[in-house]
């Protein structure tokens, strides 16, 4: 019979083509939004491109935004491959920032040791936060999509409590933040940019290492089987529970690292959640989705979304577009990508009929 059949392993060109078209459509739809605000879409896009690619500080903004996206996105790519839908990276980022801030503010260390502990704490915070939905899923069958998402709000309020209460900076009034971190925890930046290179390095290393682990390690193999066919994994004796917990730890931990990187490298203190995360945890979902389960591709996709963020800044600043314009754009990108899934996941097939139709 004539059927729409699942297309396993679609060729790369098809994936790239479909994804590109989806993104272009999203940009076109955003263009309509610009037009509704009285801004000519072509002007808007040319400003975006000029302000980012045509400008050295614009370029560095792209990279700066891309770093946390890459860190979180590569972890999420791994998690999604194992069918652990970690939607709570935003909250894991905040917990990571919090733990790291805790080290910076209260642990008497300094120098390289201090920085190492700083990042370890960040990883730990994010990992623990992700372990909660993972455990709930494995023990009680609770959907990790719901639990991880809900925990994001909990994380946000936790941070607000801390910065407004026990960790409130003494020398400040009006806004809530902690004290500035000691100097050793103010992470070094690349000349003239806001990019802190330790986090950048971590991000690149993470993406590459995760890809290698996925392709060549036994754990990566088990992960693929678990995500591809949990029943076959069970029959083969692979513990999908163990796989789930590990990917939760990894993706949560990387999100935590990103949080640590943001507060250490950019802000220098723990501050209001909305200012730390800027929706990186959610946008990283798009970054991960676009990689089709290959963490190393996140390098490209994170740069793409970094461009959207950076370009959005241009729109907000030079064209006075509303604050949320970037959110709408990223939302549209996700919307069109999901809409394009059927074109990617399915193909029209000939009469290579499956047995159950007993042709």
């Amino acid at each position: 019979m004539f059927k729409l059949e699942p297309d396993l392993n679609p060729p790369i060109y098809k994936t790239a083509l479909v994804s590109s078209v989806a993104i272009l459509l999203a940009f076109a739809a955003s263009g309509l939004m610009f037009w509704a605000f009285g801004v000519n879409p072509f002007t808007a896009y040319s400003e975006m491109i000029k302000g980012t690619f045509g400008d050295s500080s614009g370029l560095s903004t792209i990279v700066q935004r891309a770093v946390p996206l890459l860190l979180i996105g590569s972890g999420l790519a791994l998690a999604f491959r194992a069918k652990f839908f970690n939607i709570g990276a935003e909250g894991q980022m905040l917990l990571g920032a919090t733990f790291a801030a805790g080290v910076a503010l209260f642990v008497p260390v300094s120098g390289v040791l201090g920085v190492v502990l700083f990042f370890l704490a960040g990883f730990l915070g994010g990992a623990l936060w992700a372990l909660i939905p993972a455990t709930l899923r494995e023990r009680l069958g609770v959907s990790e999509i719901l639990s991880s998402l809900m925990l994001t709000y909990v994380a946000g309020y936790l941070v607000k409590y801390l910065i407004g209460g026990p960790w409130k900076g003494k020398s400040l009034v009006g806004y809530n933040y902690t004290e500035k971190f000691p100097d050793w925890a103010q992470l070094p930046r690349l000349e003239g940019t806001y990019i802190n290179w330790p986090t950048l390095l971590l991000a690149l290393v993470a993406a590459i290492v995760l890809q290698i682990v996925l392709a060549r390690s036994k754990f990566g193999y088990e992960l693929q089987v678990t995500g591809g066919n949990p029943r076959a994994a069970h029959y083969a004796g692979i513990s999908s529970g163990r796989v789930t917990l590990l990917v939760a730890l990894i993706s949560g931990g990387l999100a935590g690292l990103a949080g640590a990187g943001e507060v250490g490298g950019l802000h220098g203190r723990l501050l209001d959640p909305a200012q730390i995360s800027l929706g990186y945890g959610f946008t990283a979902i798009i970054v991960a989705w676009l990689t089709r389960g290959n963490p190393v591709y996140a390098i490209l996709t994170a740069l793409l979304m970094g461009f959207v963020f950076a370009g959005g800044d241009v729109l907000k600043v030079s064209l006075s577009m509303p604050f949320r314009v970037v959110d709408v754009m990223t939302g549209l990108v996700l919307f069109f990508l999901i809409g394009a899934e059927p074109f990617l996941k399915l193909k029209l097939s000939s009469v290579r009929v499956k047995e159950r139709a007993s042709a």
């Binding site: 193999y221 069970h234 083969a236 290579r352 047995e355 159950r356 042709a359």
Partner: protein
């Protein structure tokens, strides 16, 4: 088998019907005719074009070229409701019924009519029709309570209540015991006498030869032959279907079985619904023998396989594999004892479709592999397996899901038989496979037996069980209805046990006595 009471002109006629899909011609100038009062079998391997053809007869597809004529008039069907209106009904392989509704409600759903369900009139019609054809049903039973055979009866009744003249039956006996199949064909013969025409899609060659009047064989979308059934043999048919000679003989050398490899004793287990699925089951399988477990699906086979594979808990009883107590072992541990498991549903349980053939072949070895995978060695291993088991694939990197069912099954066998396992648990291993692939799978199992493996073959395909097994156990309602040795395992005896009819003590004694006297294998008519 009666000769068809052919009217002078065919009831349904296809001329040069062609249907194309991207990359393939599913039906290539197919012509055949269907007469009233005949059972016309449609044979062909998977992918030969049977389903496409039948879909066009039922209005699911329209031909690209060619013509279909009904009683001489051109017929253009745009949907199944058109087909139903002109008197063509489809009795599907898997009943499409609503479990929560009653039999009567389900039949009402397919009887057309206006907005309101007219159940009273329908009930009367239904009871008339069911008694006319001897198809017992109770109109108020809920469908979920019925057996497969009974559900099938409802699908047939739907067609009869509608008064369809042409019935298309898709693998109608796949879920029936031999006795139930006989019953079905009795009904079909009655319909024949009334002048109805039936298109029978089946892969059971014996059945087709016995019950159909004419046979049309499709191969790669073309009609290879459209002939009267009389005078044809199984080899003739399979040669037409496959294009080469296919052996039906399985070289089964006599072998003295060795020590006990698998022993279940008084095992009870529950199904997913919490009901008893296995009751007091005791079985043994020895080295070098094939124990076949026959039975209609749903009588505990699924749970039996799971218990042995370590996927289901025993409520009571013992399970010993190679002298070791295995009741509390995990699937991985059981596999480690030397047990190979060919699962029931190859695509859903046996392979990971998106992963490559090579990666899938690695699945069994991955358990004991080190932390890092040596890709080169993996590819070498995969290549050897692909060659040895003749898995037809474009390459080791092809996603496993792209392979045909037969090749997926061979992949699973290649993977599981690595390392010469001592016990092979094969569950419906040739389900949905064509004649050629079935032959290959059977050969592989027989070779394993020759090498000394113990094989537990759980299958709904009675012919398969009878052909391959040294001994046959029958599962009915979770209980073993007897284990028959070699020649004692006749179709009739196995068939009646499949329906739950147990031998009386007297018959048993008689059977034992006969064995002791070494009488020839053919059974007297009274001994069932």
């Amino acid at each position: 088998m009666t000769r068809p009471q052919t009217a002078s002109a065919p009831l349904l006629e296809l001329s040069g019907v062609t249907k194309r899909f991207p990359g393939v011609v599913a039906n290539d100038k197919v012509s055949f005719s269907l007469f009233g009062g005949e059972i016309h079998a449609l044979l062909g391997e998977n992918g030969a074009g049977k389903t496409t053809l039948v879909s066009m007869l039922y209005g699911l597809l329209t031909p690209d070229e060619g013509e279909i004529r009904l009683a001489g008039q051109p017929l253009r069907l745009k949907s199944p409701s058109d087909a139903l209106r002109v008197g063509i009904s489809l009795v599907p392989q898997h009943p499409l019924l609503v479990d929560n509704h009653t039999v009567l409600e389900n039949i009402a759903l397919s009887s057309g009519g206006g907005f309101a369900l007219e159940l009273r009139g329908l009930r009367k019609t239904l009871l008339e029709v069911s008694s006319a054809y001897g198809l017992q049903i109770s109109p108020d039973a809920k469908v979920w309570q019925l057996s497969e055979g009974e559900k099938q009866r409802i699908e047939l009744l739907k067609a009869l209540v509608r008064g369809s003249k042409i019935l298309i039956l898709d693998e109608p006996t796949s879920a029936l015991t031999p006795q139930e199949s006989e019953g079905l064909f009795e009904v079909l013969n009655t319909l024949k006498l009334e002048g109805k025409a039936m298109v029978l899609i089946s892969h059971k060659l014996d059945e087709v030869l016995l019950h159909s009047d004419r046979i049309t064989v499709l191969r790669k979308g073309q009609v290879v032959g459209s002939l009267p059934a009389q005078g044809l043999s199984k080899p003739d048919l399979s040669r037409m279907m496959v294009g080469r000679d296919v052996s039906f003989e399985r070289q089964k050398e006599v072998r003295a079985p060795g020590k006990i490899v698998l022993a279940l004793e008084k095992v009870w287990t529950k199904s997913n619904r919490g009901l008893d699925a296995m009751r007091d089951v005791s079985l043994e399988v020895r080295e070098g023998e094939i124990l076949g477990v026959a039975g209609v699906a749903g009588n505990g086979q699924h749970e039996l396989a799971e218990v042995i594979a370590g996927l289901r808990k025993l409520e009571r009883g013992t399970l010993r594999i190679l002298e070791q107590s295995a009741a509390h072992l995990s699937p991985a541990q059981i596999s480690g004892l030397g047990v190979a498991h060919i699962p029931e549903d190859r695509r859903a349980e046996g392979v990971v479709s998106e992963m490559s053939v090579a990666d899938n072949l690695f699945l069994r070895r991955s358990r004991t592999a080190g932390s890092w995978i040596d890709r080169k060695k993996l590819l070498e291993f995969a290549g050897e397996r692909i060659r040895t088991f003749e898995v037809s694939t474009p390459g080791p990197h092809t996603p496993a899901g792209k392979l045909s069912g037969g090749n997926i099954q061979k992949l699973i066998l290649a993977r599981e038989l690595d390392g010469n396992p001592k016990l092979i648990l094969a569950v419906h291993p040739t389900h949905g496979l064509d004649v050629g692939a079935t032959e290959q799978v059977h050969q592989i199992l027989l070779e394993a037996r020759m090498k000394g493996a113990a094989v537990l073959l759980i299958s709904e395909d009675l012919d398969e069980v009878l052909t391959l097994s040294d001994r046959v156990a029958v599962l009915f309602s979770g209980e073993i209805q007897g284990v028959l040795e070699g020649a004692q395992a006749t179709r009739e005896r196995v068939g009646s046990r499949m329906a739950g009819v147990r031998e009386s003590a007297a018959q048993k004694a008689e059977g034992g006595k006969r064995k002791a006297e070494s009488i020839s294998p053919s059974e007297g008519p009274a001994h069932v």
